[in-house]
Amino acid sequence: MTEALPALLVFIPFLAGVLQFVTDRRGIPLLPVVTTVITAALTGWLIADVAAHGPVEHFLGGWEPPLGIRLHADGLAVVMLLLTAITGTMVSVYALASHGRHVPGASHFWALWLLLWGSLNALFLSGDLFNIYVTLEMVSLAAIPLVLLAGAGKTTDATLRYLLYALFGSLVYLAGVALVYGIAGTLDLSLAADPLADSGFAGALAASCLVLGIMIKAAIVPFHVWLPAAHGGAPAAASALLSALVVKAAVYLLLRLWTDPLAGLASAPAGQFLGAVGAAAIVYGSVRAFLQERLKLVIAYSTIAQLGYMLLFFPMAVTLAWEGAVYHGLAHGIAKAALFLAAGNVIAYVGHDRLRELSGLDRPLAISLFAFALAGVSIMGLPPSGGFIAKWLLLRAAAETGQWWWLVVLTVGGLLSAAYMFRVLRFAFLRSAGATVDHQGPRPGPLRVWPTMALALLAIALGVTAAPILALLGGMP
């Protein structure tokens, strides 16, 4: 039965999304609730199995690679599945309130989100380059319409820009896949590694195409221009999914390809280059986040900065850096989802998210703002939080490899993120002269408040659960 788990993890949410499309409003809330419970439970089962017995493989159709496609649940894949299940479950609970049966577009939201969940699971479990292209397309095409749900015409421009960038990234990636097939005669991630290792110019070009395509999808500087408007303009539940999971999936892919099929091609200068791009993303994203006047844009620019930390794995390429980068992905995903959900509560109550008009919010929205501050602790990398563990691992990796310049980047990045986080809190708390804020909506109910708080607490709890998760992840492949 455990061999079928990877296939079930893809197809249960996938099929549920399709059925949600057919049943329209009548399926809400039963179908989403049942699917969320089953998918989260199956993810837990697979994680427990991988922790106990090692990686699980599934040959689809019974055809072994290179002929068929391999699903592969190893440490890295299940950590990403864990992130998806935790964030997904909490966002699902939140969306029961924000996208209930009578909300316009609710049926489309749930259909797209369940399809997105299946697509993300498919991406993390895939062991095949072309199949990864298909799953990348699925993730993008499920994510992009989610931005449109903000309301008629509000986000059309942002969505179309996102679509064009995503399609361009896919095409570049696909060119790389075609070259890899030409070089290696196989699309399997592991089987392609040896032929690629001594393939000269064609291999280098293939690797460049794969990496470039993924970087466009992951909104790495300078390909970030589509992200702020899309993530900032989407409904809160969708923003949380996009920032915590969708762009993270692309960075995951970079880690996966670098350490498996491209391992023989990965040179030190290329690693340093990716690290430098990551450093640029950290500084640029943080500074822009500090300058924003709208809450959701602060969080969106923060995503651009935080993704940069995961790129610091490439120049160091030791186990500590590997653990740090993956743990950062996990910690950032959970904290970022909490931030976006908290921002969603603010917008639901006040009707806007203009920072300068938020003073006095600490009284009516105490729990949401507390959750925002807790998640902010993890984003800043203060102890005891998941973000602290991740940055500590990266700092130790920089010291171990003697690359002191990354120490500078990590320190500056931490200070900058503290600056933009405290700026937001200052507007909400310190300038508070009492309940001065005009509000248009009702106070957010428990279904909106508690998932936000739960995610924020989990982001802090990750500070003490590092040992079992890093044991699950295993060393650098």
Binding site: L15, F21, L112, F130, T159
Partner: protein, 313 residues
């Protein structure tokens, strides 16, 4: 002789591509784009890839062209003029030009250094056709060896449709009366004559996929073409609300495909493994349900509506 044909084909393609990106009139750019699709179909045929040639002509030239023309019709005169004369800044154009040229050159060098790889997955697929239940290698890959990819692609089609409908909901465009009424007696006659033939061709293409070039995507696109004819002739109308039957048909392919994969796990031990004796009928059922869903999805992309209704005439 064929070498001369190839040279002319290549030069025409490059020339048309240049025209397509430089011409300022949007309508002309669309027409050139459609011609490029047709010539690309020819190029694939010359490269002995008839499946790709069919797909490129039916989807790349046919349906994509119809969609582009539909979009063009939705613009008013001012917008038509504006989008032709909106130009990217000069540095961006140079960057795009140099980037494309550099990328093309690098691909050329890389591709000519490859040796076609004997013993790769492609050769393995050809040697395993007996076990795949079809003598057509492309169908064997799409519906058996890598059926997982095909199934996920059906999800892509559905999500693209949802996205397009959500996007469309934001537009204020309503078809003008003169766009939908048919003022010449020729159109109904032509639709009556052509639509059944195109339908038959679509059904044949799907069936043909089991033993020769064709299959669900090409057949589905052709069926959608028949639907487009019926819409243009006023026999079918797009309606803003959706019926259960429409949504059920849209997901039929995905559900049949997934159900076949999931239900056989206990028997075969792997997702999407089929029992050897029943491969052919299973594949035929899957192909036809996929084709129906693809056809309806493409047709709804064209009408930009959630549903369809029979016309009065």
């Amino acid at each position: 002789m064929m070498a001369l044909f190839d040279v002319v084909l290549v030069f025409t393609l490059v020339l048309l591509a240049w025209r397509c990106v430089t011409v300022t009139d949007v309508f002309r750019a669309i027409v050139v784009f459609i011609v490029i699709g047709l010539l690309l179909g020819l190029a694939w045929a010359r490269l002995e890839a008839p499946d790709l040639a069919l797909a490129e002509t039916a989807i790349g030239a046919g349906l994509l062209g119809v969609l582009l023309l539909g979009t063009w019709r939705a613009l008013d005169a001012g917008e038509r003029h504006a989008c032709g004369h909106h130009r990217a800044p000069v540095p961006a154009r140079w960057l795009a030009g140099i980037g494309s040229a550099g990328f093309g050159l690098a691909m050329l060098v890389a591709l000519t250094s490859l040796d076609g790889h004997p013993g790769g997955a492609g050769e393995l697929a050809l040697n395993n056709l007996d076990a795949a239940g079809t003598e057509q290698p492309v169908t064997a890959v799409l519906l058996n060896f890598r059926s997982y990819d095909t199934l996920l692609e059906m999800g892509v089609v559905l999500m693209a449709l949802i996205g397009a409908l959500l996007c469309r909901a934001a537009l204020t465009y309503q078809p003008r009366a003169e766009d939908v009424t048919v003022d010449t007696p020729l159109v109904p006659v032509l639709v009556t004559a052509f639509a059944p033939a195109v339908l038959l061709m679509g059904v044949y293409l799907v069936w043909a996929g089991t033993h020769s070039p064709g299959g669900a995507f090409q057949g589905g696109a052709t069926l959608a073409g028949a639907g487009v004819l019926l819409v243009l002739g006023g026999r079918l109308h797009g309606v803003p609300h959706t019926a259960l039957i429409t949504r059920a048909l849209l997901i039929l392919g995905t559900v049949v495909f997934t159900a076949a994969g999931l239900l056989l796990i206990p028997l075969e031990g792997a997702f999407m493994a089929y029992p050897a004796d029943f491969i052919y009928p299973i594949m035929l059922v899957i192909e036809y349900s996929l084709a129906l869903s693809i056809a309806l999805s493409l047709l709804l992309l064209f009408t930009g509506t959630h549903g369809l209704r029979r016309g009065e005439s």
